[in-house]
Symmetry: C2
Amino acid sequence: MIDRRINHKDLRDFAAKLLTAAGTDAQEASTIAEVLVWADLAGRSTQGVWRLTVLLPRLRGGFVRSPCSPNFTRKTDAIVSVDGHDGFGQYVGHVAMARAIELARAGGMGVAAVRNSNHYSAGAYYAQLAAREGLIGFAFTNATRRVAPYGGLSPLFGTNPVSFGAPLPNGRSVLIDFSTGAMAGSVIRKATETNEPIPVGVAIDEHGGPVTDPKEAQRATLLPFGGAKGYCLSFLVEILTGVLTESLMSFQIPTMHEKIQSAARIGHFFLVIDIATLLPLEEYYKRMDMLVAAVRSSRPQTGVAEILIPGETRWCHYTAQLKDGVLLDSKTIASLKALAAELKVVTPW
Amino acid sequence: MIDRRINHKDLRDFAAKLLTAAGTDAQEASTIAEVLVWADLAGRSTQGVWRLTVLLPRLRGGFVRSPCSPNFTRKTDAIVSVDGHDGFGQYVGHVAMARAIELARAGGMGVAAVRNSNHYSAGAYYAQLAAREGLIGFAFTNATRRVAPYGGLSPLFGTNPVSFGAPLPNGRSVLIDFSTGAMAGSVIRKATETNEPIPVGVAIDEHGGPVTDPKEAQRATLLPFGGAKGYCLSFLVEILTGVLTESLMSFQIPTMHEKIQSAARIGHFFLVIDIATLLPLEEYYKRMDMLVAAVRSSRPQTGVAEILIPGETRWCHYTAQLKDGVLLDSKTIASLKALAAELKVVTPW
């Protein structure tokens, strides 16, 4: 088995076919495939099509449902609550963010508070949905408990990522998407494949000692990033996604290691602001250009080639892979090939 | 000179009298005094009445104006823009947050985007204004450039703090308020008084080497907290407070070291969500109790007495000092005494 580059359209079709062959509603499958391939294009393969090897067994086990027919309840002109009915997080997240965008277009602000969903892959995807329409977008989600509170030994919060997007005049966007844990869970999982050691300060054992072996780190407690500040952000995300949505809170979500498998009932929180209600988009872009120029012309430290704008690396990967094809590593190729054989779907290679 | 404890009401009256004696509008003075004494009560004396020694000269210099008569422009049902007319940040911040709260009460969401303001002291004050009315509140501000972008050597962003409040059933609130720089500017200033060394990883010299002398650190470049993630948050805060408000951006705000003094024209961004539009407040409080209980019953690391809820330390100071009086250190007492003599105001001690 070797690494391969696959055209993103072929990869999207292939992912959608795998999903429908496993019983996913066709419209949902198309959206889920788009979200996964977006993550691959952006160079976040840990949130990409590789996830089908986890998602499809969960669908067959009945822990994820399709079609899920999300239920929207309009709370005010600016706020909607969404019941995801245990659907795929990628689909539920996409339609919920689309609704928040509609609300923001109509009244300047939109919030979609989502309950009973599942892992939604890269939060940056939802943030850029807003940004590409000239809006500011926030996306938050909780997740299975992995991260200790500041000063604690036991996992309580999910990696509770914070995602943010703001449009740039060049058609790209400022994209922020980070785990409030010291390392993203998906990055640790990836490290188990290469057996790369985890840096000290990321994971601890039951006595608080450092865990650097990636396989042990997968079951170990993670620390919040940046000490008390990261803990505060985890807590904030939990209030938005776990408390306000009436979904499960991170510490209530069943972990993958628990024997009793059940619906994850994860909560998401999307918030959109229509820039044009505050200042003309043209003026906004002029100001963003000034900000970007100030950062770019700033003096770099020795050994730093250039100072990057948040999301810049993602967009570089995106543009390159759109042209050259999406790079899938040999392990992903092998797992997808096995899934395809089982589901009688033709592979795109 | 010795440290003293002053009753918070007496301290508020004293602060208001100093402000009015220096030419501040009486209504504004009362609000500013409240904001400053709140910070003192909460144990954040770096943002408290001590600041009068900086604020009053700025008023007399014409760089801060009073009365400022902020101008509100309703953009949509949920969004208002505010021109602070170079008024005191504490007053402009207070009235802007009050307006965002009104909007949220009416339609579920409220945003106040503020331009042409000044330093507003502790962001937690504005967040708790929302929280104490059963709302979720966010407060963001930019500030004079102090913090380098990730990988950079030169200051570009202010310490751009993130502040958040969410009500708790016990009448307190979850309060988050942190600098996106590795240390708050006010904490470094405080360290110059005691000559306490600054930890490595906070400030750098022009070659990127660590600066640990607090006096040097005051003029040195600060690093973002938590590496690239803190940089991303600084950037996010700058978009909300500098770009969207049409105020100055951090890197354009005149520093105190620059000879040409002028209006700071700082931007703030307040965002409020009415919890009751999403779920009954009773149910919200039940869920917050579950979250708080889960954190409190979590196993602490060796040497950690208990795991704290964000804002808990602030509220402990607040309750104790409300009862015992606000502790002012000898240096603050001396500066306030000098101001009082100059302005012919009777001291409360």
